[in-house]
Structures are given as C-alpha cells and as structure tokens.
C-alpha cells in the first residue's frame, strides 16, 4: 500500500507566554519552539505501521518554509521513504482551502492508495485541509479516524463521535482519512535517528512546478481573510480563599450555594 501523509510544523504554545505580533494577525513566534503537529505524528505513525504490515511506501508532504525540513526529517527518521516540501512565497497566507489546493497538485504527481492527514493542526485548528483535499482529488474520505482495518481494496475505519460513540464505516481505496490522536503510540525519534537521515534529499516544489497561478494560492486564493488575532480579555479578579482545607471547603460550598450552583 502506497501512502501519502500531509504534515505541518507548528509552534508549541503550552506553558509559553503568548503575545500578538505587530501585524495583529498572528502570534509572536520568535521565542517559541516548534514541532511536528501532534495529530500529524499519529498520522505518520499509522502510515509506518501499515507499511510495516503490508509493504509499500510512505511519502510525506508539507507546505511551508525551509524550516519544515525539520519535521519532514523527523518523519523520514520514523520510517517514511520520501519527503516533499512545497515552498513558494506565493503560498503565504493560504487558508485551509488554498493549502489543500497546493497539496492536491503535489499529490496528483504521485501514485497512492491512501492519504492520511492529522484531523486538525494545533495552531490554527481549522480541521479543513484533509477533507477539502479529498474533495479536490475526488476521492472518498473519513474524518476523525481512530482505528483502521485493511480489507483488500477497502478499509473499515472507526470514527470518533461525541460522547464516546464510535461510527464504523467502509471506504473504498483510494481514500483519505484524517487521523485522530490516540489511534496509536507514535514512536520516539532519537537524535541518532535524525542524524541518519540528515543527508537524505527533500524535494522542493514551488507554484510553477505545480502549475498553480499566483492568484489561486496564498491570500488571493483564499476564501477566509484573517481580520485580527487577540488574546482573550482578562476577566474579573479571581478570589483566592485562605485558611485550613476544611475552612476553604466550607467557604467554597457557601459560595456555590449562594450563586445557585448547589440546590
């Protein structure tokens, strides 16, 4: 089975101090660390597991600047065979739709049976790229997948619904699945593992190689225009209760009762 995995390198924001940059349309990323998008790490692991079981190849694709090589290399070290980076200044500002369009053109050049993406990205969280990509390619898709069973030319996949419900669907190949966290346990990539793939070629394509016009991608090719990004306004001061645990517990229950939280 030949699998394509679309990935993204994202900033890590947990525990970090976040501020808005000068444009007012993005956060200041200068002091942040970056890593492979968490959902994508499950997608690439799932692809490698399928390859280990069934053979075939795994190709990773990422749209982004040269720094995306870091995440592509991580995937190569996990066991991917090829890596492709889609880089062009014209791609900047692409929304989910424009991003999917760029990815679609790259995917068309490669034979595949299955495409995996993360369900969403940690940074903008649109959750659109995977499903739009499937539409553009004219193949079926299933989103938020947490289990895959391969049955010859089709797949049986489990989709995570709300409230612990699961939906099981059958889907014909070629298909696209957006992968949910928890589907597997992504393997660790050691420094030595990264060093081993340091020299491996990462192919890079821009808009001309993908036959894309400048107005089809980036801001001009996007339907969503970002107005501004802001931090949630700080609420009213919190009340810190003091005293022994039993006194605090008493005060909490009084407050809850007063405000109608306990009936």
């Amino acid at each position: 089975m030949n699998i394509i995995v679309c990935i993204k390198r994202v900033p890590e924001t947990t525990d970090a101090d976040i501020s808005i940059d000068k444009s007012g349309k993005d956060i200041d990323k200068s002091s942040l660390v970056f890593d492979l998008n968490e959902w994508d790490s499950y997608a690439i692991e799932e692809a490698i597991l399928l390859k280990e079981k069934l053979g075939g190849t795994v190709t990773v694709i990422s749209m982004g600047g040269e720094e995306s090589n870091e995440s592509l290399r991580k995937c190569l070290a996990m066991g991917a065979d090829d890596a492709i980076r889609l880089t062009d200044p014209a791609f900047n500002g692409s929304d989910g739709f424009a991003t999917a369009r760029v990815l679609a053109e790259a995917v068309r050049k490669i034979p595949y049976d299955l495409i995996l993406t993360g369900t969403q990205a940690e940074d903008d969280g649109y959750g659109q790229v995977g499903v739009v990509l499937a539409e553009l390619l004219g193949i079926p898709h299933a989103a938020v997948v947490n289990r895959i069973e391969v049955q010859d030319k089709r797949l049986k996949v489990h989709r995570e619904l709300e409230g612990g419900l699961e939906e099981v669907v059958e889907i014909d190949l070629p298909a696209l699945l957006t992968i949910q966290t928890g589907i597997n346990e992504p393997r660790y990539v050691s420094i030595m593992g990264i060093r081993k793939v340091a020299k491996k070629e990462i192919k890079s394509f821009g808009a001309p190689e993908l036959n894309l016009k400048a107005d089809e991608v980036g801001l001009s090719g996007s339907d969503i225009r970002l107005e501004k990004v802001f931090l949630p306004p700080v609420g009213e001061a919190a009340e810190i209760l003091e005293g022994k645990p039993e006194e605090i517990a008493l005060k909490v229950s009084e407050i809850l009762r007063d405000k109608g939280g306990l009936s």
């Binding site: 101090d17 660790y188 420094i191 593992g193």
Partner: protein, 382 residues
C-alpha cells in the same frame, strides 16, 4: 537489532560474569520488580530474548543506582548493560510515552520537565532583595558557575532549596554566577534513559558555553548533575563540586557561622549519585553536626549501604512496571520514623521529591519533614 549477539556481549564486556548474583543481591528494585540483573547478564551472554527487549517493561525499573556495578567482584558493569538495552529500544523508538515526553522536552526546551526554555531563570525573580546573583550570560564573571540544574529551575519545591542555597553562598562569601536561560540539561538522566545522541548534543552545548565564559569551577546542588559533569564531561577541564563540599569547606575556613539553635532530631539519607557513586559521605554530615542544638542520628542503612529512593535513571518520568512491594522511599521514611527523627535530611532534588511524596503516602506528615541540608543550614544562620 543492529548489534549481533556476539558484539553485544563484547561491547558490554559480559563474558567475565560468573553468575555469582552479587549484583541482584544488592539491587534495590529486585525485591519489587521482575528486573533481575544477574539473569539479564546471562541472557545477554547467550543472546537469549534479545529480539524481544521491547516486551521487557522492567528494564525501565532500574534506577541506575549503580549498586550492581559497584559490587560486582569481576569489575563488570551490569548497570551499563541495562542502559545499553534501553538505548536499543530508544533507537527503535518503542519506549514508554512518559519517557518520550521527557526526552522530547529535553530536545525542545533543554530540560526534561517541559518548562519553556526562556523561563529557566524565572525562580530568581522571587529571591530576597539582598541576594545578588551574577549572570555569566549577561557579561558577569565569577569564580564559580552555580549550575542550578533542571529540577531546581522547574519545580517549586526545589526552587526553595535553590534559594536557601544562594543565601548560604552569600553568607559563605562564595563568588558565583549562573548561566541564566543559557543553562541546559546536564544530560545525566538522558544518558541513563538510553538517549546517547541527545546526551552528546547536551554535553557539546554545555561545554561550549562553559568555555566561552571561561568557566573553570562549577558547583551544583544536584548530585545527578554533579556526577555527570564530574565524571562524564571532558576530563580535566572543569573542577566540579557538590554544594555540600563547597559549604563544608567554607565552614572549615570559618566563613559560615551557624549560631542559631535548631533543636531537632535529624537523620540523613545518602543520595546514590552523591554517596555510593561519588563517595561524598562526610561533608553533609559535617554540615549537619555543626548546627547547634541538633541531634544527629544515623540510619542503619547509611553511607555505601544507603537505600535508593527510586528517583534516578529516568524514574522521575516513569512509573515502576509492577505495583508489588512498597515504594523504597516509603521504606526509607519508615526507617527515619523508627529513629524518632523529626527531619529527614538529604542533598538531592530527586530524593527530596520522592521522599516527600512518601511521607504523604505513608501518612507521616505530622511527624516527619523532608529537607535539604542547605535549608537546615539557613535556619541555623538566620
């Protein structure tokens, strides 16, 4: 697997093993874990089960206390075999999730706790006004680099110890500076978890920094950092001290005056990486015994025979594979309670955290406190 069984046995120098079992006999976790270090030696020699290492959860139970290696009559290094096996699993990538997190945190944030790297020195902001801290990365120079370490930079409890330490440095007229946000993980635990490549990278980064600031003398309160900086960093370039060594020296020179009485019954737990691995047994005791009013009692298992607290070798980031048997830290706490000690003193951030936890889980919060040597010193200074 990359190594053939032949070279595996050669690489870890296993052939000298005559299966006497002294290693397992001394192993503190052998009572409660499937880990049997003697059996691991013979299986490795015979090349048995080497392809199924991934199933051996108990490999992560080893605390790298080094008792096995220290006691082996043939001078072999059974502990290194465990680390080597972990290394093979690390390269395959199939290791416990919490260990992966610790390693990825160290790669990204330069500490296993995941504290953002630009917040490493946050704890210095709450120091008392009169404690001045030089910072090498801001152009200051000093006789000693105080290598704070990841735990003191991340954990609120250990930050209290670091603060006490800086106060006693000032009292003892120690000329010291920190590396600021440029300090990064020493790599001791990383190496012991089997991530050899990351360890190399950390050593290189740290050594380059030390050299660029002409640092020659390093003092740290973390025995794990002390061990690796002293024994596993390039030799002969840095003079590395544990804080108890430096403070004992200052006491001897009359630069620390301990005037205030501390009327407490106190016992001392030897951290593995300070005591049995680096033979620093006396200095913490000298410091404690110099405190007026203090009654010092020795636990039965002390010095070389000290019981491991289970905090080393990556165990701060992974639970034991089986729940059978008592936590060793709880046994240790009971030892102290039996002596009627009011304070269980130690000199290691991991020991403080594991022992303090054990005081709570064993229900001894009203009877016993866990403190670092320096914290008690400060009580006698003020």
């Amino acid at each position: 697997m990359e190594l053939s069984e032949q070279t595996f046995a050669q690489k870890f120098d296993l052939y000298g093993c005559f299966q006497c079992g002294k290693c397992t006999g001394g192993c503190p976790v052998s009572l409660k874990s499937k880990l049997n270090i003697r059996r691991l030696m013979i299986e490795a020699i015979l090349g048995r089960n080497l392809d199924r290492l991934g199933e051996r959860e108990e490999l992560w139970d080893c605390t790298t206390c080094k008792t096995c290696t220290i006691r082996c009559p043939r001078g072999l290094k059974p502990m290194d075999l465990v680390i080597g096996m972990r290394g093979m699993l690390v390269e395959e990538g199939h290791i416990p999730k919490t260990i992966i997190e610790a390693m990825e945190n160290t790669y990204k944030h330069r500490n296993p706790w995941g504290k953002p790297k630009n917040k490493r020195t946050e704890w210095t902001k709450t120091l008392p006004e009169d404690v001045k801290v030089k910072n090498f990365s801001e152009g200051d120079r000093a006789e000693f680099l105080y290598f704070a370490g990841c735990t003191a930079s991340s954990d609120p409890r250990i930050q209290e110890v670091a603060k006490a330490l800086l106060f006693s440095f000032q009292q003892g007229e120690v000329d010291f500076g920190i590396l600021g946000n440029e300090e990064q993980c020493c790599g001791n635990e990383i190496r012991r978890m089997g991530e050899a490549g990351l360890f190399e990278e950390l050593v290189e980064g740290n050594v380059n920094r030390f050299e660029s600031y002409q640092i020659e003398r390093i003092v740290t309160m973390c025995p794990h950092g002390f061990n690796v900086l002293k024994n596993e960093y390039p030799q002969g370039r840095f003079d590395v001290l544990h804080t108890t060594q430096l403070l004992a020296k200052r006491l001897e020179e009359g630069k620390l005056s301990l005037k205030k009485e501390v009327k407490k019954v106190v016992t001392y737990h030897d951290p593995c990486f300070l005591g049995k691995q680096n033979s620093v047994f006396d200095e913490p005791r000298i410091l404690l015994k110099a405190i007026p009013g203090l009654t010092f009692k020795e636990m039965d298992r002390s010095r070389e025979r000290s019981l491991c607290c289970e905090g080393g070798g990556g165990r701060m980031w992974v639970e034991a594979s089986s729940d059978t048997g008592q936590r060793l830290a709880e046994i240790r706490v009971n030892d102290a309670v039996e002596l009627d000690a009011e304070i269980l003193v130690t000199a290691c951030p991991f020991c403080i955290l594991t022992l303090e936890d054990a005081v709570k889980t064993s229900g001894h919060e009203d009877r016993l406190r866990v403190m670092d040597v320096t914290e008690l010193l400060v009580e006698a200074i003020e």
